[in-house]
Amino acid sequence: MTTWIDAGCILIVFFALIILATSRIVGMIRIFVLQSCVLSLMPLFLHAEAVSARDVMLSLGTVSLKAALVPFVLFWAIRRISMRTEVKPLIGVGASIVCGALLIAGAFWVSLALRIPGRPVTDLGLPCALATVLLGFMIMVTRTRAVTQVIGYLVIENGIFLFAVSLFDAMPTLIEMGILLDIFVAVFIMAIVLNNINEEFEHDPGGESRAKMGETF
């Protein structure tokens, strides 16, 4: 089973890197969906010997939220606000990939220093989670579109989630559900705000305000 787990971890990082390298927003969301699907399988893999109801719930929750609801909301937002779909990075794709690779290396290097107490199921969990978080940060910092920032945020969340499921099970289910719900609501509200901003722009088409806002939206 460990092979699957390791593969899952590495896939998640890989998808994060791909998101960083994608130049179209729609593509980014799609890859994010893939990443989330892989992630939602992780609880099941990790406790493959004895899958509990909690794991199933977590898995289902993740899949329904991150692979279905969130992308839906994002697509809705994109459609509603007829946003231009290219990513407009501050750092070019090539450089981003190089930086991303360096970040991954950094995450692994940092993980060397951290010894996880207890019994880790896999030794890839921590570095991969860290790498995903870092890549998510990178997406947020270097990509200027509003939606890309949301995606970056979601990648970070995925990283954290990977960390949580792979390393320990001290968190009560209720709390984990709360976390999931929070994330969803966050994205939902972000989308609403985006929508509102867009409406404001439509009252003032082609005004200087868009230029002033750094072409974020």
């Binding site: 951290l114 947020m140 945020y153 954290i160 320990f168 968190m171 509200i189 404001e200």
Partner: protein, 469 residues
């Protein structure tokens, strides 16, 4: 009792979502706030028992925060009665979100589980976001966006910190605060350190400590005064409560110095950054928001210094909330009257609206720690703590920054209060409710400045003892 305190505002929020008349929602909010306040008042006499298997416990720290929150809502509710007499805007989302915020903030102050604490803090972030965009102007929406993004990232970091804490607590196997505290020496030191850093940065984002403060001027500058009061007085201090909880753990784990050094660095940064930024500022709300960052810095500093500083910080929590009421409700009332909160548009307040002018002066003086106001004492204690801890440069830097801060705020506030009055948008009439809400806070500030009541001091001492003095 505690769960009811959380649920009732929640239910009222649902009620507020119903299509009813505007004024009904205002009164609903008022009634809820009053109820909340009276229950919290009862808690001062008789502390409630833990609920939900120990998830909800009201300790003195929580009681302080809960009382602050309760007071803030009451003031805002009273203020709002006056505010919506002039305002034609729809208030459905606004008031619903306010009530949800009340509910979740109550949850923050009573949650005794680090995970639950995180969830509650995150929720407060979400429900406060729509408050910022109340005016629906481009600026306010943009500010909302920034607020959401920065705070969400911060909160994500705090989540990571919480997870690290959980790893550190691998042997303890729980995130319940009492258990963590009891078995703190068992925590793995390295992971705890990592967790503390992440928690500090994460909750620091929420609290608006520099350099995670960047959302503050934007959000406070754009949101309506009532919302800002709740954010600056309530939300940020909720995050501070989280930091205090971390401090409790660190103290028990024997890592006070480690945590203190980080807190002090952050605190000093939070003093310096706004002091530099404020000098070029022209907008009174943004100005006050820098002042708010500075107050957060003071809180962090006090917590980091411990001892007297801790007591000062706890006292400052209360004062800070009161000052924020005065500051931002006044700013809000000015913004409503003049349609702007920029210094160029507002002059001669003391002639047009004498009471509002006086309140602005009070906001200036109390906000910068002048004597008859309670902030004077709490700031004094924090600086004193720095001296006692032999951090002389720290004390010097703190006072220089406070001085710069004062220059920055007074430049604007005084310009607005005095001089030849400009023509306001609204008729020349002061509103009783609006002024009453502010006056209550002013009175409390004066009261605590002249006379620190016995029960309050007792609770403050108990709270300080919890963090370990």
């Amino acid at each position: 009792m505690l769960s009811w305190l959380i649920f009732i505002p929640f239910l009222c929020a649902l009620a507020a979502l119903l299509p009813v008349r505007r004024i009904f929602r205002v009164w609903l909010l008022g009634a809820t706030a009053l109820l909340h306040a009276s229950v919290v008042g009862a808690f001062w006499i008789n502390r409630p028992a833990p609920e939900w298997n120990g998830y909800l416990v009201l300790d003195p720290l929580g009681l302080i925060l809960l009382s602050i929150i309760s007071f803030l809502f009451l003031s805002v509710a009273v203020f709002m009665i006056g505010y919506f007499q002039h305002e034609q805007r729809l208030n459905r989302t606004f008031i619903a979100c306010l009530l949800l915020l009340l509910s979740t903030m109550t949850l923050v102050s009573v949650s005794y589980h680090m995970g639950l604490l995180w969830v509650a803090v995150e929720t407060t972030t979400l429900f406060s976001a729509p408050l910022i965009s109340f005016h629906r102007s481009r600026g306010s929406l943009e500010a909302t966006w920034k607020y959401l993004l920065v705070c969400s990232v911060g909160i994500a970091l705090a989540l990571m910190g919480t997870f690290f804490l959980a790893i550190a607590a691998n042997d303890v196997h729980t995130l319940f605060l009492p258990a963590l505290l009891k078995q703190a020496p068992l925590l793995s030191v390295n992971w705890l350190k990592l967790s503390v850093i992440f928690l500090l940065v994460g909750y620091g984002c929420k609290m608006g400590l520099a350099p995670m403060h960047s959302w503050k001027p934007e959000a406070y500058g754009q949101a309506t005064g009532m919302a800002v009061v709740l954010m600056a007085g309530g939300l940020t201090q909720c995050a501070f409560l989280a930091l205090i909880r971390v401090s409790q753990i660190c103290f028990q784990a024997g890592m006070s110095d480690f945590y203190a050094s980080i807190l002090i660095v952050t605190g000093v940064l939070s003093l310096i950054v706004p002091a530099v930024f404020i000098l070029g500022e022209k907008n009174i709300k943004r100005c006050f928001s820098y002042s708010s960052i500075e107050h957060m810095g003071l809180l962090a500093l006090g917590l980091g210094l411990g001892g007297l500083g801790l007591f000062g910080a706890l006292f400052h929590m209360i004062n800070n909330a009161l000052v924020k009421v005065v500051m931002f409700l006044t700013a809000g009332s000015i913004a409503q009257k003049y349609g702007s909160s920029r210094v160029d548009d507002v002059r001669g307040l003391i002639r047009s609206y004498p009471l509002t002018g006086i309140f602005l002066l009070v906001a200036l003086l109390a906000g910068t720690g002048m004597f008859p106001f309670a902030t004077f004492h709490s700031e004094l204690m924090i600086i004193n703590a720095a001296v006692i801890a032999k951090h002389y440069w720290l004390a010097a830097a703190a006072v220089i920054c406070l001085a710069l801060m004062f220059i920055g705020v007074s430049r604007i506030a005084l310009e607005m209060v005095y001089g030849q009055p400009t023509e306001p948008v609204l008729a020349k009439k002061e509103n009783f409710y609006m002024n009453a809400a502010i006056a209550a806070a002013v009175a409390l500030l004066l009261w605590f400045g002249f006379w620190l009541p016995e029960p309050l001091e007792k609770v403050l001492r108990e709270a300080a003892a919890l963090v370990g003095v």
